[in-house]
């Protein structure tokens, strides 16, 4: 539609009450209270999102993880979780996972998969085996048979030892030489009559005898040397023999236990391999284990939670189906730190040192959700350090690697573990708002690779009879779920109407259950406090009013400023270049409208409209755009044969905060036209709406709040019957006004005017027709447009004269002086 197709002389008529508020029609829904209403099938009002979730949950290909966009937060998350749990219950349960000691490389624990629910069985079987061994092995090694065989080995070696030494001693004795044990070793000396020969006696011997003794000692020393050299070899032989005996003894004793253990897991090669590794290690380290077991007191053991030397054989069940309900798991991680997500390695402080082993590996949400679904709030995920990259790595590599944030940060310098990564097969469902989804899509190239399915929840739905009925049932669900009182038809109807107001659209109802929930709870509380069994419309009205009242401190202060003429707003009379605009302020989820004076001053100039808000950086980009559109409108409509020689300034008076949005652009244009035409604008009217370059008035947001905001000021000063608000005609469908506003309009004490074009609006504001360009190319005399165009031509003339004068001054060497 263009401005040429509308009637520039038409004055918009005020809207009738039915256009200001659309009452709920529940006539098609038979019920007395919400107790009679059937539950709403889950996500039945979110077909697009429902289909996306079904698709995402069903597809097994890589990267088809789901991003749920919803502004209803926890309730949507709960609904999706319930849906996924239903779907997962029939799916096969995932494998159990355990970590066990890697005997070859203890710092790299081994991960073993077992069929569902068998990990605890394996853990218990190994634990029982260990307990059996702890009890039976010490007795075995104290048994008479073992001790006898061990003594036999030791005595055999000892006998060899003694024999060699005895032979040497005898040989020495035959030569009257004694071998004596010193504290550090052995020495030799000549003996006579069983006594070592004193030095004096020895020196008294003949030289030949002395020499013979020295020679004999010299020979014996060589043999002693040889004998001593053989001792370590014999000791080693003894150790080897004892070790072999230990192994043989233990092997026979444990054989049956291991056969029984293996029999339980014959179908699991990895488990069998580990059982064999336990057996090998046990036999290899038996003496060490026995001595450590004996040395470690029980109390200390419990305090240190190390499980003693046999603890190395325990099984750490990381995840098992026993941890969750049957079927595939659906895991929600509300606090997705790195450790909570990918698992962690805990440490024990023992005698000042941090120690760990495979038993201190703890599962993360990815472990618990492996084979099923993991639900995460994306905002929580992104605000935790390291978690988002860790999640992407896990999804990309399809394995869970336990990473330690402390190590990344350099906090943890102690020796740690590198557990085997566990293969990952999980469907991740992220919950977030649209902004986060778009930011991730735009800024993170990996995001779209891994999250290919978008489940976009609608914030509202059509307010058809079916839509209203669905919302009524949804209200019933909330009431039942929260154990509230039942709501009667009137209360439900009021809730539907409020849901429409929340949607800012008379033809829609909100699906944001959180807002409805709070109101339902409060209304039920009020009814309950008044000892009523059923919540009525009056309770809902009261709940809405109370909620608004609690949040209205700022609104009331704003209105007070106007009523006390501190913020200057006129609600009667007429002014040139001055108009009442309407703005919306938001506070803690509550929005309210308030009038704001906009003024405009004009003079001849270079064709520029100065947006003062922009000049002082109080105006946003959208506001600036709106102001620039005004230039386009003026240039395209007026004095087409002359250059635009206007200089205008526009300002939101007494606005000290930022201004954004283009909803005031039509208002500013009216002020501009008034300033140009010098025709006064009615101050009993307030205006909202954006405008395009063709002068068409376009829809804006917050229309209900804006109308009510101006109405409150007028009502406080006393309604005159001429007051009202001009709104874009396209916003009529959004009207769900307060009852007092509707009643005032019905009584003719206030009015809401739908405006299609600037011409309609200016006619209403000035009381003079806008005027249509005639066959002579001119607007009719006396019309607003004529006045504007005449003024612009006048400005052009002034500007032209000024340029000539300026040019003349330049040619006569007077350049540098400014013209006015």
């Amino acid at each position: 539609m263009s401005d040429e197709t509308t009637n520039p002389h038409a004055m918009p008529a005020p809207l009738a009450p039915p256009q200001l508020y659309r009452a709920a029609d529940l006539s098609g829904l038979a019920f007395e209270t919400t107790a009679d209403l059937a539950p709403v099938p889950r996500l039945s009002n979110q077909k697009r999102a429902h289909e996306a979730i079904d698709f995402g949950a069903g597809i097994t290909h890589r990267g088809f993880n789901i991003f749920v966009v919803s502004t209803s937060g926890a309730r949507a998350q709960q609904a999706v979780k319930s849906l996924l749990e239903e779907a997962s219950a029939t799916r096969p349960p995932p494998q159990d996972w355990v970590y066990v000691n890697n005997f070859a490389a203890p710092q790299r624990p081994l991960a073993i998969a077992l069929p569902s629910r068998r990990a605890p069985v394996f853990q218990k079987a190994v634990h029982d085996l260990i307990e059996d061994l702890r009890l039976s092995l010490p007795a075995l090694f104290e048994s008479e048979d073992y001790q006898k065989r061990r003594r036999a080995i030791e005595q055999e070696v000892q006998a060899k030892n003694e024999h060699a030494f005895a032979a040497l001693s005898e040989k020495a004795a035959a030569k009257n030489i004694a071998i004596l044990r010193t504290p550090m070793g052995f020495g030799m000396a000549p003996v006579r009559n069983g006594k070592v020969v004193p030095p004096a006696d020895f020196n008294a011997w003949p030289e030949a005898e002395q020499q013979a003794t020295r020679d004999a000692i010299g020979e014996l020393e060589k043999e002693l040397e040889e004998t001593l050299r053989s001792i370590p070899r014999m000791e080693k032989e003894q150790r080897d023999a004892v070790r072999a005996l230990d192994r043989e003894t233990a092997s026979q004793a444990v054989a049956q236990l291991f056969v029984q253990l293996r029999a339980q897991f014959e179908d699991l090669p990895a488990v069998l391999a580990h059982i064999d590794a336990i057996r090998t290690d046990l036999l290899e380290n038996l003496p060490l284990l026995m001595s450590a077991e004996a040395a470690e007191p029980g109390a200390m053991q419990a305090a240190m939670r190390t499980g003693g030397p046999f603890g190395r054989y325990e099984v750490n069940v990381v995840v098992t189906e026993v941890d969750h309900s049957p079927g595939a798991p659906v895991v929600e991680e509300p606090h997705p730190t790195l450790a909570n997500l990918v698992g962690r390695i805990e440490y024990l402080q023992i005698q000042g040192a941090l120690v760990t082993d495979f038993r201190l590996i703890k599962a993360g949400a990815l472990h618990r959700a492996n084979g099923g679904m993991l639900l995460l709030d994306v905002r929580s995920l992104l605000t935790e350090p390291f978690t988002w990259p860790a999640l992407k790595r896990a999804l990309r590599r399809r394995e869970i690697t336990i990473e330690d944030a402390g190590r990344f940060m350099g906090f943890n310098m102690t020796v740690s573990l590198e557990p085997d990564p566990i293969p990952l097969d999980v469907k991740v469902v992220l919950f977030g708002d649209r902004l986060l989804y778009h930011l991730l899509s735009t800024l993170d190239p990996d995001f779209t690779e891994e999250f290919k399915v978008l489940a976009d929840f609608d914030d509202d739905t059509d307010r058809s009879p079916a839509g209203e009925a669905m919302l009524a049932c949804m209200i019933g669900d909330i009431a039942r779920g929260e154990e509230l009182l039942a709501f009667d038809r009137g209360a439900v109807a009021r809730m539907v109407e409020h849901a429409s107001r929340m949607a800012e659209d008379a033809n829609k109802v909100t699906l944001l259950a959180e807002g409805l929930h709070d109101l339902l709870v409060e209304a039920s509380h009020l009814a309950s406090t008044a000892s009523r069994k059923v919540v009525t419309r009056a309770d809902v009205d009261a709940a809405i009013a109370r909620r608004i009242h609690r949040l209205s401190r700022v609104r009331e202060r704003s209105q007070e400023m106007i009523l006390r003429d501190i913020a200057l707003i006129e609600t009667s009379g007429a002014r040139v270049g001055q108009i009442n605009g309407l703005a919306v302020m938001g506070f803690a989820g509550y929005a309210f409208g308030h009038p704001s004076r906009i003024t405009c001053r004009v003079r001849p100039g270079g064709g520029k409209i100065v947006d003062i808000e922009r000049e002082v950086e109080l105006g946003g980009k959208l506001h600036s755009k709106g102001v620039l559109i005004l230039s386009g409108f003026l240039a395209g409509r007026y004095a087409l044969d002359t250059p635009m020689s206007l200089s205008a300034s526009l300002v939101f008076e007494q606005s000290y905060g930022g201004v954004d949005g283009d909803s005031a652009s039509s208002t500013e244009l009216y002020a501009l036209l008034s300033a140009l035409s010098e025709l006064p604008l009615r101050q009993d009217l307030a205006v909202t709406g954006s405008v395009n370059q063709h002068g068409m008035v376009q829809a804006i947001g917050g229309v209900n709040d804006k109308i009510e905001g101006y109405f409150d000021i007028c009502a406080s000063r006393g309604l005159t019957g001429t007051q009202g608000v001009l709104i874009p005609a396209s916003n009529v469908q959004h009207l769900m006004l307060r009852q007092d506003v509707v009643e005032a309009c019905a009584a003719g004490r206030f009015a809401v005017y739908p405006v299609h074009t600037i011409d309609e609006g200016i006619a209403l504001l000035t009381g003079r027709a806008a005027g249509e360009r005639g066959g002579d190319g001119l607007y009719p005399a006396g019309s607003v447009n004529r006045a504007v165009e005449d003024r612009l031509r006048q400005f052009a003339e002034v500007a032209k004269a000024a340029r000539k004068e300026n040019d003349g001054e330049k040619s006569s060497g007077k350049s540098g002086e400014k013209s006015t």
């Binding site: 104290e142 003594r151 030892n161 071998i179 044990r181 010193t182 020393e221 040397e225 000791e235 003894q238």
Partner: protein, 277 residues
Amino acid sequence: MSDKPRDDDGRLLLGLWQATMDASAMRAAAEMARLLSLDLHALFVEDEALITMASLPFAREIRLTTQTWSKLSSEDIEAQMHVAALRAQRLVNEAAKAVGIASAFEIVRGDPAACIATVCRASDILVVTERGRPSLPAGAALPREAQEASAHSILLLPERPAARRGSIVAVPADARDPALDTACALAAATGEDLVILLAPGTTPEAAREAVDRARAAGLEQQRIATRLVHGEEALGWFATMTGLRERLIVIGGTSPLAAFASRLVAVRNVPVLLTRA
């Protein structure tokens, strides 16, 4: 060092010289002293034969740790003995403190056997460790000391006695052998059962008498068992002990098993107390 024991009290006499006793044997000796209500008396003998040897002009020793020969002087050997004595004293003190008994540590110089014979009183029990670490033994010294002190009771300790619970085995020569009283006292002190091994040919009356004596010593009937040995040879005695899990064997000095006491220590790996009347 702990309180000096009274002269009239019996002592557990621990002979120490150049070869230091193993710490576990030291603990076992201390525990035995506690059970027998004896003080622990350690006698460190500086063997004069070594000092004489070290004074010889060609004296040298081969050291076990390095297997190399080093020249030896009397100063060297005295210094070594001093260090060995200090270490032995520390071990004695620790062992006595651990079980809460009084101990004394004495250093003498001379012939080890003669010194022990001189110091040992009639009421003393002489501790003899079983020879036989796989390192070379210190000659035939220990049996000689044991022989020299044959008038005394002897506690034969295995080289590494197993610290374990189990019954006290009594091997009296007959029902009136004081060894039985000693075994009963030890069983009462330890709370263990008493097993009496009866020599071949013991009559039922003698057996009953032995049991009665044990009961008279305060042991309950159910804690007393008897086993009749078949065969005079050591094999018969050893066979009778099959299946027993004992912590100590007490043998009367005139029991036929006394001759095999040393072997018994080796086979059973438990302390053996050989009592003299």
